[in-house]
Symmetry: C2
Subunit: 1010 residues, 2 copies
């Protein structure tokens, strides 16, 4: 892996890199497409392969074709053979999607092959130059990159930060290898199991002209087929207007070939047999059958152009087989025109098909909601995967936190270690795959994803160390630092490296551009004096580690206590806290401030909130004392749905599995009839530890001066000795009169209103009353009425719903005994340490008036996923020596930046060149203060680096200067026309940036050092 040789092109951000404006559209763009014959039914054949970046096998196994006993699939040969097949016939076209695979293949090719592939991608240019304006010639590149992410990401459980990152990574590779003609223009989400509006919006912001996908609810498809509305204009943001519009098409038969026309080696459909001298001649029958299939498909579509995908999972491993037969099919079907057939078939691409539709110059129906949840039959709701593999989902989210912090440190310390960070970038790119963070992979593959993230984090920690080695020492004479390390098990109050040490430091990098105050807990064996960056001794308390935490399998620490204290971190910077063991005499002298009660009624209270429990451990009420609002709970706690145990032979026998959520009953059972409660009250925090049974507990905490309630849940090992699969939820039955409405975010950004038992665009048949109402919750869910909004932030993606008025629930963990027969071939039965996996996580609860809520959940969610990153270091020096030699706090920002601006990504590309994304992370009209456009100077972020000399705004995936972007125009049924191109204002004269609500802007920046 030699990333350094790859990123040369990208960073030359002037016209040299991105090309002269307008070349893109004129030469390698749509103009060279075959648009068929206006008097005929034009069939666009799209040859493609769908290469999962891990699923039943690991990504490496898929690439090489190892473990073909599990699944026959080998991407290296797909790319080998497609290139050979394209060489055979210039009419052939192929699209490729997953840059994560392409890139490793590309690096293994000879320069001859690389040149050939470049030619295939670019030949539009060369031919057009040669042929001048013979543009009717089929000059579109033989090989077209489509979507062009590192993978084809999941849309339910992915966070927008990582979707953008993985697309940027893919786009960078394509641009570097192929220049502008390689630029993907179309989203291609053929396999993901439901489609988020945010994904479409992000695609639009990447400058894409359209999106195609293969899966939508079976009733939705029936309706659209009947009404010829399989294709539409998706208004993909409630905030961004036309720049978020995206033409969207649902493919006719998933992403496979029409019935009986799969010529791939994985299929058993007959080839075209055209030797008159042999038996089994089938040309006539095949032609007849294909023409019928074309007419059948055309019946559901609006124009005289239709798309036919010819591909599937890991198809084209011997592309010759596919193309040889497609060549014949095209030849013989078109020959039938001489006999009066009106079917005109040709190799095409999604872009060219889209362009043909665009040229059709008609109006299209629009859509404003999303494509969740997806069901393929009345009992087949793909809403289980919203929660499957809860631990992996959290690890992925946490890994992104580390990745962004590492990029910050690499940039501000100028360590130029992008190559090292690449391991984690790539692992995150892989993890976004729709069978990765989705939780729908085999167990061994889930381990592999985790291993990759872990390895990537390992390299990231090296970068962090090198960065801190530059940022911390006050002078060149400062002695070398001991290594910084992560305490990855601190969520179970374990950090063996520091436990029992006499002294160590804790350094926290705050990745948000605002100061942050928070409480820190550190598991310890004894008490410490903690020195803050200003030399002050902090107020600390020793509080017990809860009994459920101590009993978590795999926790080897014997420590029963943790130290807790509050820190105030600078914006976009770090603070170091020095821990020094207290002398024995001092320790014995101090009296604990902690009070503990067992199974008594208990009230947690701070400056803002009061939380009431009865002596049975039931949460009764949360009161926002400050705002004089309260919510009462008729029930709160853990419940389980019994997963349906079926053999999947018929829809009625559909089992609950990795993909599918199908509870036997709509009424979940409580996990226990009784609970115990222990109240632990210290000055910094008050906690009720509520134990439901030996596998489910929650710790509900109020921190000093916090305006939220924290719920830390621990679930597992889910028992299955009764042979019943269980899906565990945490439910809050409140007195909020929320009716049938609830609200869930999409990919951590915009929030959509959900209505129970209802679909906005078709007449919905209610069959599965629970599973059919589950939606992905990436970061938040709420219910509300006029006065009160009860909001829950989650620390990872989960499925959630409101099954009854006033109720809100999140599915935390699932353990199932049946495969749902959608491919994975395993029941979702995660184990660790010889029993079911234990999962732990956090929820943050807000109780506020609706109008006040956005400020809390927007800021809260942003800080939750971009949490300060704690690194520890064992130090030898005394506090005085340490503080004499090392900087203990630092911020990149001289100014304060507006609270509604978020630094989404910040990355040092090469010498003097940076890529930065800033966003307005409030929606319109949700907050009186923050839901307005905001302006600030980007130079603020760069103050510690240098002066911004050049600033090029680029598409969201950073592969084209916005000034060069020309998106296609579409007209909707209400006669609105999209004018999706760049507003002039975005061509910047200086570094002042204006953001409208929910806007993300991406810049490549050249900086001169002071």
């Amino acid at each position: 892996m030699h990333f350094s040789t790859c990123c040369g092109l990208l960073v030359v951000i002037t016209t040299i890199c991105y090309g002269a404006p307008s070349r893109s559209a004129n030469t390698c763009g749509y103009e060279t497409c075959n648009l068929g014959d206006p008097s005929k039914l034009n069939v666009h054949i799209v040859a493609h392969t769908h290469d999962d970046v891990g699923w039943l096998k690991t990504v490496d196994q898929y690439y090489y074709g190892a473990r073909n006993d599990i699944q026959h699939a080998a991407v290296q040969y797909i790319l080998d053979s497609v290139i050979m097949a394209l060489d055979e016939n210039p009419d052939r076209r192929f699209i490729y999607v997953e840059v994560g695979f392409f890139w490793r293949w590309w690096n293994q090719q000879t320069s001859d092959i690389q040149t050939k592939v470049q030619q295939f991608v670019n030949e539009g240019i060369y031919l057009v130059i040669i042929l001048l304006r013979l543009s009717e010639v089929l000059n579109q590149g033989r090989l077209e990159f489509i979507s062009g992410g590192w993978c084809m990401n999941d849309e339910a459980s992915t966070h927008y930060n990582s979707i953008i990152d993985q697309h940027t990574l893919g786009a960078e590779i394509i641009r570097q290898a192929f220049g502008e003609c390689g630029r993907p223009k179309i989203g291609w989400q053929i396999d993901p199991f439901g489609h988020s509006r945010e994904q479409a919006s992000l695609f639009a912001q990447m400058g894409f002209d359209g999106l195609f996908f293969g899966r939508a609810d079976y009733e939705d498809i029936q309706t659209r087929n009947r009404t010829k509305t399989m294709e539409m204009v998706w208004k993909a943001s409630a905030n961004l207007g036309e720049q978020s519009w995206l033409f969207t098409g649902i493919l006719p038969h998933g992403y496979g070939a029409p019935d009986s026309f799969c010529f791939d080696y994985r299929c058993s459909d007959n080839p075209i047999m055209d030797d008159n001298h042999r038996f089994d001649l089938n040309v006539q029958e095949r032609v007849r059958s294909f023409i019928q299939a074309a007419h059948d498909e055309a019946a559901g579509y609006a124009t005289n152009h239709i798309i036919m995908t010819f591909g599937g999972d890991f198809q084209y491993e011997d592309a010759n087989q596919n193309f040889k037969n497609l060549d014949k099919l095209i030849k013989y079907v078109n020959a039938e025109q001489a006999n009066g057939s009106n079917v005109n078939v040709f190799y095409s691409t999604p872009s060219c098909y889209l362009y043909a539709l665009n040229k059709a110059d008609r109006t299209w129906k629009s859509k404003t909601d999303d494509f969740f949840p997806y069901a393929h039959h009345p009992h087949g709701f793909w809403t289980g995967y919203f929660s499957s593999r809860a631990a992996l989902k959290r690890f992925e989210r946490h890994s992104n936190n580390i990745l962004q912090v590492t990029r910050h440190l690499n940039a501000f310390a100028n360590t130029s270690l992008r190559n090292s960070i690449f391991y984690l970038s790539e692992a995150m790119g892989v993890a976004q795959h729709h069978d990765a963070v989705s939780g729908t992979e085999k167990q061994e593959v889930a381990f592999d994803y985790a291993q990759r993230l872990s390895d990537g984090i390992g390299k990231a920690v090296d970068v962090i160390n090198q960065a801190y080695n530059k940022l911390l020492p006050k002078s060149a004479q400062s002695p070398p630092l001991q290594a910084q390390f992560l305490c990855q098990l601190s969520n179970i109050s374990q950090c063996l490296e520091i436990e029992g040490q006499d002294r160590f430091t804790l350094t926290l990098w705050n990745p948000v551009i605002h100061p942050v105050t928070q409480h820190v807990r550190v598991p310890v064996r004894f008490d410490y004096t903690v020195h803050d960056p200003n030399g002050q001794t902090l107020l600390t308390e020793l509080i017990p580690i809860s009994e459920p935490t101590q009993k978590i399998p795999g926790r080897t620490s014997l420590t029963q206590k943790q130290i807790i204290f509050k820190v105030a971190l600078p914006a976009l910077g770090f603070s170091t806290y020095y821990f020094e063991k207290k002398p024995d005499q001092q320790r014995t002298k101090e009296k604990s401030t902690v009070k503990i009660t067992h199974n008594e009624a208990c009230v947690l209270q701070n400056q803002y909130l009061r939380v009431d429990f009865d002596d049975q451990g039931n949460l009764h009420r949360i009161v926002n004392t400050n705002k004089n609002l309260g919510v009462s709970f008729s029930n709160q706690g853990f419940y389980w749905y019994q997963g349906f145990a079926g053999n999947n032979s018929r829809p009625e026998f559909q089992a609950s599995g990795a993909y599918i959520f199908r509870p036997v009953s709509a009424d979940p059972q409580p996990v226990s009839t009784t609970r115990t409660i222990t109240c632990i009250k210290a000055e910094q925090v008050q906690t009720a530890v509520i134990i439901f049974n030996d596998w489910a507990s929650q710790e509900i905490s109020l921190y000093d001066e916090a305006e939220y309630t924290e719920v830390e849940w621990t679930v597992g090992p889910i028992p299955i000795n009764d042979n019943i699969g269980k899906e565990i939820i945490l439910r809050y039955d409140t007195d909020v009169n929320s009716g049938n409405k609830f609200y869930t975010d999409a990919n951590g950004r915009e929030v959509l209103e959900r209505t129970r038992d209802y679909r906005p665009t078709w007449n919905y048949t209610v069959v599965e009353t629970v599973a059919g109402n589950y939606y992905p919750v990436n970061s938040r869910i709420w219910i509300k009425n006029q006065e009160r909004q009860f909001t829950i932030l989650t620390d990872r993606s989960q499925g959630g719903s409101s099954i009854h008025d006033g109720s809100v629930e999140l599915m935390l963990h699932r353990r199932l005994l049946y495969d749902d027969r959608l491919g994975v071939g395993e029941p979702l039965n995660e184990t660790a340490f010889g029993e079911g996996l234990v999962v732990r996580g956090k929820q943050i609860l807000f109780l506020q008036a609706p109008a006040a809520s956005a400020a809390y959940h927007r800021i809260g969610a942003q800080r939750m996923y971009m949490h300060p990153l704690a690194t520890y270091s064992l130090v030898q020096q005394s506090y005085d020596t340490y503080t004499a030699n090392y900087r203990q706090t630092w911020t990149a920002l001289a100014d304060t930046l507006p609270l509604n601006v978020h630094l989404l990504t910040f990355e040092h590309l090469v010498e003097n060149v940076y890529q930065i994304r800033v966003e307005h992370y409030f929606e319109q009209n949700e907050d009186d203060t923050y839901s307005h456009p905001v302006t600030f100077d980007l130079q603020s972020v760069f103050n510690s680096i240098g002066k911004i000399e050049q600033l090029v705004e680029v598409t969201l995936n950073a592969d084209l200067p916005l000034i060069d972007l020309k998106r296609l125009t579409w007209v909707t049924g209400d006669k609105e026309s999209s004018h999706p191109n760049v507003p002039e204002a975005r061509l910047m004269a200086n570094s002042t940036v204006r953001l409208i609500p929910m806007q993300i802007r991406t810049f490549n920046v050249v900086v001169s050092h002071p």
Copy 2:
């Protein structure tokens, strides 16, 4: 199919076609081979595919890859992708075997591809010319044809006539497409289930330098591996001396790749994963494992060269996968030499491996017996297939009879319809495949083979018609002839086309070069006057059609009588018999000469023989009254073995199936305890019809003046309603003191002595006392003692044995209920008309002194497989008009030719050019008169055509003038050295041909017309 464009090259039989002498060996021959490193263990990697010409799918389905649901296999893509892969890397080598597949692929290629393939085959030439004597460079062609028959023929149930034909057909195609460098030099029988000595002898006569195969008895292999005698010199003929010697090697592991190294898309072995930056890196382990495999294999072989096949059934469908990994394997294994490894691995071919062995200059053990029967475990004797699909086996043999007659007629009538005959030639080529005539294909495929033969016969009949249209009319004024047709069901006494006709003709072509006398039976509704070619009215008799014949399912004829008469046919010519319905009054007037008795003792007797039956239908005795010899039968009749019903999960559970014969008990059961006998005595023939039960009967006949006893057996439908599979034999328990010896022919030619429960070359463990003693009987089996030899000729290939002293048995028909799990996946359970298939056949019995027997069985067998071909025609003309207009007899021969010479093949290639094979068909020392060399003038055969102007003797498969043939020399352990090259005497000055016993000579002949 445009055969005419294909056969241009072959026919230019001068040096222009066959090349200057000596070019072959010097340029595209062995000299360009990589011979490795003498100080290392040299591993010759042989990349190959094994493409069954029909098996589980039909040959067309295999070619195209249709019905991949049955078996994934597609030859078109194999050849496509191999050519592409060879293009990628000039080091790569590939061998191809089955010209039947190659030819259809070749015809579908563009001339660009054809040129490329020619280059791959021939590049030895070009490079050597360019590089002059840099012969150490790897110039051997990348693509090498090996064996080069139309298919890889079966060795047990094939007749030598058709083996030679199918190899000639393949060789012609190769020569025409590639010239001399394409010429195969090695036999490659990797899959056939046992190996006949005759096959090896034929290969030697084709000029081959060696033979490799994959299957041999498991004990044989153990022994050879232990004694490093896996490779040997096979002295393949007891008559032909050194010209029949063939170096022979048994491949190390069948024909597959070493364990865990199958890189084919059909396997699941891991690829070589060599990206250091990825997980699953396996180079080191793979290299270590390969080196171990090489050493393990070398332990069983004699030199420091070993061969490793990398291929299998229908492998290399995406050759890139195979070669890409082999490239890496070679690279990394050889790199290990730097660390002291002595393994040197490289792409090679069987020829180059053979040449390396030849250069080793050592002595080799020799072998004189054959490799039958083949067992893969103690209960797995592949002796069932000797008899499987008895009807197909006969149809194939009969089709050859028609093919040869058609060629004769096409040549002598100068109709130049070789293209039309090609259909049958090809169908016969296909039928020789080791899963065709062997009977080990699926039922649907068996139907397809039969269909192809039938279609080919249809085209052949067209040729026959056109030929007779030229041969029969006496002048241009003769009115057009009615069509000639075959009566294919005459073996069940049915010929609906003529039944009830007032007049018709019967024309018989005698394909042997000696006059033949025989009896003809024609099913009729009433009596006819039959006019012979000389205008004489023949003595005819009306005899009844036997009851078992009349009851055969599918026989729709209501005719109960047949007319019988004796004909005398000219050598290599025809006679026509004119049938004219006798007037009613004449018929009623004539008194039948036929006498019939039921269930009485009965004696059949003619001038030479007496056959005694008791009143229970038991055959008691056959007496050669002329020679005063008798044989008594303690038992004679049908018995059945119960086929073992197993699940094949272990050797002990091996089932009897299409391949395997495994009787439950060594004692077969008689099919009935009683029989009925009907004696029918006419002047022409005396017949005992013995009915054993409703599914087994025999008709034993003595014809007037015949020196043999004919047994016509009818077996079926074999009952399986008892759920027991049955294998039916006809057994003769005689009083001949034959001891444990019996004699069977190989492929219809030389006869091998068999010894019960014994193997000549290893210490044989007797487990299966019946199956392990079965041998293929292609044409004859005998037992003998000092005075008497009891010989049985068969009309098709069957398994046969002598399980007890004095006993001889042939397996006639098999019906089984279990698959033997060797791939075919079906029990051998043939049905027709809704019940088990009925099969009928003939045996000819001779009782003679041993010294006199050869003359009978040699001549008898030759006339049995080259029977006069009967065609019928409905004529309108009266006999007088007919005889005035049409020639009624004709012979190609002016002279009589020696009785021990057989015209094996005779074919008109193109204008003036003929190909002829003549053979001495007696072995040495078997007959006082005929077992001597014989000389005759080839001109005799051509007298009716013209004068022989040029005569080039060529190899047996006609692809090289013998004068250019240089076979490699091998030295055997007894220090004999082969000098296998052409004796000077064979460079002919005139058309006088000398043949030594069992010699076949092949000539291309240019004739000038008179």
